[in-house]
Structures are given as C-alpha cells and as structure tokens.
C-alpha cells in the first residue's frame, strides 16, 4: 500500500554509521557490581524514595513512588541491598548530582511477586495508572511519562497515531534491533495505545535505511491482524524528530506553541510501545532498556541493560580502543559527553558512543559568522539560526524570541553545516536558559509584589476596621447620651405621638431625640474619612520619611535646639517610618 509522504524543509545527511552495531543480535548485559538508580528518570515530579539504606529489595520492587500525575515510578533493577539513598552525579552535561538509590546486587536476580495485568477488563484510567506504576516513559529520549500522553483531546478528534521507529541519529540502532527481534511485542504495545487513543489511523514510520526492521514490523502487523500502516520514510536527519515525522507522515506541522494533540496527532517511540506491552503482559516494570554500544570500540553491539548500570562497565563490553577519551550518551548530533564513566544508564540512554579524537576530530576554531545562510537552509524548523546567533551573542534575548528561539529543537543541523564552525546550538541553549532564568526572576518578583500589595491591603483594612469600630463606639455613645437626654425631656414633657418601633441599636430604650439613622450615617462618614486618611498616609510618604542618616541627624539637632529654646514641645525628631516605608525596605 502506498502512502503519500510529505517533506520537511532542511535536514542534513551525516554518515549513518549504523551497520557496525547491527551485525550481532541483542545480548543481555551482565548484572554490574553496583547499580545507581536515579529517582528522577522522567519529565515531571521527582519520585519519592520508598526504601532506605540497609533495606533488601527484590527485582522489580518499587523504590521510587511517582510524585504527581506527570511522574513515573522507579523500580529496583535486580535483587540486592540498598546501600545508599543519596546524591550521585548524573548523566547530564551539567555534571550535577541528583538523588539516587544505590543497590548492591545479591546475584540471585530474584523477582518480586508479579502477575500480568488484566488488560481485557481494565478501564482506560486503570491502564494509564498501571503504566505510570510500571515506570513506562518515552524511550525515544524525552522520557515523558507515557500515561500522560494517552488521553485524547476532548475537542480535537484523534486522526493519526504515529509510532516513531525512524531512528535518524547516526550510530544508534537499538530501535532497529528491537523491531527486528521483538516486532510482535512492539505491535501489541501499539495496540494498547490505539485502544486508549482511538485514532482513525496508526502509522509506523521507519527510515528507509532499515529495511529488515520495516519487514519485521509489517510481518508482525499482518500476523496480529492489525490495520497499522508501516511506512518507510526517506533517510534524512532529523526525520526521527517527533515533529518532523508527524510532518512527513501526515503533512501537519506542530509549532512550539501547540501540542500535537491539538492537531489530532500523537507520537510514541517503538521502544515505549514495547515496554508498555511488556509491563502489561508480564507484570514486569521498566527496569532495563536496549542500549547501543558503538563508536571507538572493537565490538559494537546492542545490549539489554539494567537501569543504573555504570556506563563505564557497559562500555567495557564493547572493548573500547585504548585512545577512547570519553563517553557520549545519545547520538553524535544531539548527544553529550557524560561527566565521568561512573554515571548510570538511565531510561533516556539509547546509545553510548566511545569518544576519541580519531572518531570525532576536534573542531576547527570558531570563525565569525559570514551570514552565508547554510544554517537557515539546513534548519528543519525553517528558523534563521544566524539571526538567533547574532542576537543571542548580543544578549538580545527578546529578539531571539521574535526569531522563534523556542521553536528550535536543538537538532544540531545548523552547527553541522556551519562553515565558520560556530557552536550555534550552544548559543541557543544559552539564550533559552537565560530567558528561563529571567522569567523565573520576574515571576519571583511578581509574587513578591503581590505579597507586598496584599500585606498593604490587609494593614489598611485593619486600620479602617479599627477606625470604623471607634466611630461606631462613638456613635453608640452619642446615641446613648441623646437617648438619656430624650428620656429626661420625655419625663418633663411626654410625647404626643407614639414612638416608632424600637430599633435594634436602641433596644428597648425610649425613643431618642436624635434620629438614629442620621447618627449611623455620621459614623459611617467618620469611618470613611479615617480610611481615606489612612490610605493617604500609606500612599504618600512624607518627605521626612526618606531621609538619609545625615539628614536625620541634622533634623534631630534642630529639634533638640528648638526644645532647648522652648520653641516647641518635645516630639520625636524623626517620625517613625510609616508601614509603607518599612515594607519597601523589606
């Protein structure tokens, strides 16, 4: 069956370097000497640890509890003893630490009791909850909790469900091997997503440099009697970017300001579908993943690796050449050098590339931009990277937003083609983080302002209430006095007309001479004046309130002299600063 394909603009064709790691089937990596399992392995809330140092855990036991809806549970990858719950360096370019559960395996690899999920009788909500508890997250690299993407938009009908098997980054072949060897489970997983989202069509996109994977997937789709369409898309980096694949398969373009579901599309990685099905069919949570070990190694291959395995230990399986000087996590276009080789494999780790200068020669020195426009030609989002660069460099962050910096997916095409060897993506990350930092600052300032204004309002209100109370008391006093006077008068000359019904304020007292309604009005006016005065005082600081130390001293001297001379009675030299002033100082 032929399907009309669309094109996205730009894109580059780096050497794919995929064949090295596809010659051998997937192998299981041995249990390492120690597992460091980070709790924060998905976008969203950081799971709370539910084990402590000294606990024994079984394989698949919950060690981190999902924190909120957008968060996914974390499990022990093997049985053993928890030796620490603490901060360890993360596989992240920042090299920062994050909370991890460290497990010393006991070697028995003993599973916790588990049973398949009763999928046939489960409600959609129960399925979503189960996937969250099983730690199923997007394995394409973004690690967004999968259950959070399995609710269709209420307003836009779900047209297409896109399954991403494009795997466009050079060197990475874990999805390719997964589709070749475990296609049926992938297709069953896609079936689960289909059941939850009810799309009109399911399209599985695979780059046309993976004919074996496409054939295996087609066979599995047919064997299971599904209506999914396996589509081979042209090999062009970054065709595996979710937005690019959506464009190629459906013609729809998802801007940064929208979600794909707003356009009736949702996209999942093939490995995500696989882990979702494994969790449902076997009851086993996500504790391992496929990782390609490639680059400067003698034996490139794909391994099924326990989450938490130190990257150095995994890389040793590939027998790195002696000149290896680092480990790249991810592909050569968007990956990064990990801080050291003790950092653990996480759910986002699809590939480890042994780095060497032979494989990736050091970059030539950066030259000035000559505005040649090669980056704009290569940009799959049709941005003007050189304009973004000029403005990011000049710290014109507002301008970078006008040039749509947040539509940049950091695919690296611009840096790849730049003849001046400018690390453009680095500049864009810098600009983005600066903008985020400024927004955080601004939000903090806004919150402080709101707090301050509320405090001011509260104090004014309290003052006004006090004034009102006083005014009321005064009014009551006056009313009482008037009533007494009236009573005396009444004794002297009884009224000719009967008194009106007694009001609440006067109770059973005889009719007052002064109209109580008028009195209340007066009190209200007094209260309003008091309020206005308080407001005025709060709003307008007197000129004596913003004195510096010298002026204050001078003023005090003057007052003292006046006092000595007996000109004025003693009073505070400098009036105590008003509330407004103190609050400002805060």
């Amino acid at each position: 069956m032929l399907k009309q394909l669309f094109k996205f603009k730009g894109g580059v064709k780096p050497p794919t370097n995929k064949t090295q790691s596809t010659t051998l089937p997937i192998a299981g990596a041995p249990i390492p000497s120690r597992l460091v399992v980070p709790l924060h392995q998905s976008i969203g809330g950081t799971p709370r640890p539910v084990v402590q140092a000294g606990d024994t855990v079984l394989k698949g036991q919950l060690i981190g509890e999902a924190d909120g809806w957008i968060s996914a549970a974390v499990h022990a990858p093997t049985s053993g003893t928890v030796v620490d719950v603490g901060m360890y360096v993360q596989p992240h370019p920042s090299g920062l630490d994050a909370q991890c559960v460290v497990i010393e395996p006991d070697g028995r690899d003993q599973w916790i009791a588990h049973a398949p999920f009763d999928y046939a009788h489960a409600t959609p909500d129960a399925v979503r909850h189960y996937l969250q508890q099983s730690g199923v997250v997007g394995l394409g690299g973004a690690v967004f909790p999968t259950h959070g993407k399995l609710t269709a938009s209420k307003t836009v009908p779900m047209d297409e469900l896109i399954i991403n098997g494009a795997e466009c980054e050079p060197f990475i072949t874990c999805d390719d091997l997964l589709m070749r060897e475990r296609a049926e489970d992938v297709v069953r997983g896609i079936g689960v997503f289909r059941d939850l989202l009810k799309p009109k069509k399911v399209l599985i996109g695979i780059e046309d440099n993976k004919p074996e994977a496409a054939a295996a997937m087609r066979a599995a789709v047919n064997a299971l009697g599904e209506q999914f369409l396996v589509v081979q898309v042209p090999t062009l980096y970054p065709a595996g970017g979710a937005k690019q694949l959506i464009r190629v398969l459906t013609g729809k373009e998802v801007p940064a300001s929208k979600r794909s579901t707003d356009l009736g599309v949702q996209c999942f990685n093939v490995a995500t579908a696989y882990t979702a099905w494994c969790a449902i069919a076997t009851g086993q949570p996500v504790i391992s993943r496929l990782v390609t070990v490639s680059g400067n190694v003698q034996a490139p291959r794909n391994y099924e690796v326990l989450i938490g395995t130190p990257m150095g230990e995994l890389l040793q399986l590939g027998q790195p050449h002696p000149d290896t000087d680092g480990i790249v996590m991810g592909g050569p276009m968007m990956g990064f050098l990990v801080p050291n080789d003790t950092v653990p494999v996480v759910k986002a780790t699809n590939c480890l590339i042994a780095h060497s200068e032979r494989l990736f020669p050091p970059k030539a020195p950066e030259m000035p931009c000559i505005r040649c426009g090669a980056c704009a030609e290569a940009c799959p989002h049709e941005l003007q990277p050189f304009e973004l660069y000029w403005n990011a460099r000049a710290r014109n962050f507002g301008k970078t937003q006008e040039f749509h910096i947040f539509d940049c997916i950091e695919c690296g095409c611009c840096s790849f083609v730049c003849p001046s060897r400018i690390p453009l993506v680095q500049y864009f990350r810098f600009a983005k983080s600066e903008i985020w930092a400024r927004e955080r600052e601004k939000n903090a300032a806004d919150e402080a302002k709101v707090r301050f204004e509320f405090k001011q309002y509260r104090e004014e209100r309290e003052k006004a209430e006090k004034a009102e109370k006083l005014a009321k008391a005064a009014a009551a006093q006056a009313a009482k006095k008037a009533a007494e006077a009236a009573a005396i008068a009444a004794v002297e000359s009884p009224p000719e007309t009967p008194a009106p019904a007694p009001t609440e304020a006067t109770g059973n007292t005889p009719l007052p001479a002064v109209d109580p309604a008028q009195d209340a009005k007066k009190a209200a006016i007094a209260a309003a004046m008091a309020r206005a005065k308080a407001q005025r005082e709060a709003a307008q600081p007197k000129n004596t309130e913003t004195l510096n130390a010298d002026q204050a001293r001078e003023l005090a001297d003057i007052e003292a002299r006046r006092q000595q001379a007996g000109i004025v009675e003693a009073r505070t030299a400098v009036p105590p600063p008003s509330d407004a002033a103190t609050q400002k100082a805060e």
Binding site: P170, E253, P255, P332, G335, I370, C372, H381, S420
Partner: protein, 344 residues
C-alpha cells in the same frame, strides 16, 4: 572532564573552502579577460592580492586577532580579486593598491572585520577610486593591442609612458559619450555596426568575459554556495527595464543583451549581489535586493554621470539590506498560513 558540545559529527566545511570556491568560480572570467587584454589583469590580481593580505595582516595585528587563522580564510583574496577585476587592467599600480587598502582597512576592519562589514568592500574601493581618481579609473585599453608581459608591467608600474592611444573608454562609456555627442543624430545600430569597440552583442571581447563570469556563477549555484534569488532578480530587473526602454526607442536605448554583457553586470550578478555579508539573507529579501540593484544599476549607467552603475547600486542596496531582511522574515515550521499540507 573535557567539554565539547554536540554535534560531534560535522560536515566538511570552512570559510576558506567557501572563499576558495568563489575564487575558483572567477577563473573562467579571468581566463577570458587575460585572453582579451593580455597578462595585465594577472599582474593586477597579484598586486591586489598581495596588498590585501598585507593590509589584512596589519589590521589583524592592530586588532590583536590570530593572524594565521584569518589570513588563511581567503576573504581578503576574494575582495582583492573583485577589485582587480573591476579596475582598468592597465591602471597604475598605486590605484589598485589604494583601492584595496581602503577596502580592507576601512570597509572591512574598521567595521569589525570578517562578517561585519555592511558594505561590500570591493564596491567601496571602486566607488572611492572612481570619485577620487576619475581619469585613471576611466582609461581602458583598446582591444586588440599586442603587448607583452613586460610592456604591460612597465605601464602599470609607471616605467613606460602611458600612450594615450592605448587608452579608451569602456563600451558602455563610449556609447554614452557617442550618443551624447551625436545629439540624437546617431543611433545605436549604427554605432554597434561601425565602431571597432563593439562585438556581436556588446563590447568586443568583453562579452566573453561576461560569459565566463556567468559560467562561474552557475557553478557556484550548482555547488549551493549561492541561491538563484539575487542573481535572477538582478538580471531580470536589468532585462525588464532595459528591454522596455529598448522596445520604446531602440535608436537611443541599447538592447537588454548589450546591458547584460557590459560593464559589471555579470560579475555583479553572481559575485557581488550574492555577497552574504552585505546583502540580504532571506529568500524574498534576496529577490528585492537583487531587483533593486538591477534597477539602480541601469538608471545610473544610462542616465547618470558614471561609466557604470553596478557599484553604486550595490552600495545603495547594502544600505537597505538590514531593513529588507527584517521585513521579509520567512514563516517558520508550523506557523505558516493554514492550508498547506494541513487537512481538516
């Protein structure tokens, strides 16, 4: 821990590769040129290149920039070659030297060096020299003279007397003068047929130099170093305006072909209008930029006082390039007008 940001794979590309290819693309034009006027043009290219590199080195030194890195980027040589190709081939050595120094020092480095110049340096050199030294800038060799390398070198270095008979005007200039002197009595067909200076379509021999530039330009386009927009718009504007006036009054306005193959039209279309640093960068911007240069060049060369208008037209459009770019930003992925590819 070492730090190197992604991507780790890079395409084999560099500024010097870009500049080298621009120089290579000039070679067909230069070959035709030297066949036409002899080795003089090669002497001028050498003088300009050496001057440019020296001036570049001096400025880099003064600006405390790495010498080897920037001298090898090739940008100074491109500027030098464009200057040599736009100046009269037998001009005295100091003329091309002055122009080149001015281009590198003032038009390039004072603005911040590579990538920062708002004006095309070679065109600045041309404009400065034609204003400051109009006589020297208007002496073009008569075609068909047999001169040896030594003869020409002596003329350029000022060791041999400049024989007036050796020097004439450019075909463009000659036509303008003849039309002015003829005062309506002379028509173009007559001029083209009778004056020795004209060939089949335009200046004799010069038409082949222009064709050489055209070939080089098409190669640059095929190599994706330039896009079609600016040259196309430039040539289309030139053809449209000259064609309209030629159809209106063929006796006093030369044909579009004459204009395309005369003066700096072809060199400008493929090597100067396409300068990314001083020109426009957006596709629509390039079209506007090229068309603007084409129209202005025609107006200046036909109605103005200078022999050719390409240089001034480019400088004027360089001025407007930033605004044009700002107003012609293309729509990005996902934010285009709905409809294209989007089905309801």
């Amino acid at each position: 821990m070492m730090f190197a940001p992604a991507p780790f794979l890079l395409k084999d590309a560099s500024v010097s590769q870009v500049m080298t290819q621009v120089c290579m693309a000039l070679i067909p034009g230069i070959a035709a040129y030297s066949w036409l006027v002899g080795p003089a043009i090669l002497i001028q290219l050498t003088i300009a290149s050496l001057t440019a590199l020296l001036a570049e080195a001096l400025m880099l030194y003064l600006r405390d920039k790495p010498l080897a890195l920037f001298l090898s980027d090739g940008s100074a040589v491109v500027t030098a070659w464009l200057i040599a190709l736009t100046f009269p081939p037998l001009a005295p050595w100091w003329l091309v030297t002055t122009g080149t120094v001015f281009a590198i020092v003032f038009a390039k480095h004072i603005y911040g060096g590579l990538g920062q110049n708002p004006f095309n340096p070679a065109m600045v050199a041309f404009a400065v020299c034609i204003v400051a030294f109009p006589a020297q800038m208007s002496q073009w060799p008569n075609i068909g003279l047999e001169q040896s390398l030594v003869d020409q070198l002596n003329i350029i270095l000022g060791l041999a007397p400049r024989v007036d008979a050796l020097s004439g005007a450019t075909p463009l200039d000659a036509m303008k003068t003849a039309l002015k002197l003829g005062d309506g009595q002379v028509d173009i067909a007559h001029l083209l047929a009778n004056q020795d200076i004209y060939g089949n379509f335009a200046g004799r021999g010069w038409e082949w130099v222009a064709t050489g530039y055209l070939l080089g330009g098409l190669w640059l386009w095929q190599r994706k170093l330039i896009t079609w927009h600016a040259p196309f718009a430039f040539l289309a504007a030139l053809i449209s305006l000259s064609g309209a006036l030629w159809l209106y009054q063929p006796a006093t306005f030369a044909s579009p072909l004459f204009h395309l193959l005369s003066g700096g039209a072809m060199l400008g279309a493929f090597f100067i209008v396409t300068d990314p640093v001083s020109g426009c960068t957006t596709p629509r911007g390039k079209l506007i930029f090229g068309a603007g240069v084409g129209l202005l060049a025609y107006i200046i060369r036909v109605f103005g006082g200078y022999p050719d208008g390409v240089a001034f037209a480019i400088l004027l459009m360089n001025l407007s390039a930033p605004v044009i770019d700002l107003l012609t930003q293309p729509k990005i992925f996902g934010l285009k007008a709905a409809g294209k590819g989007e089905r309801r």
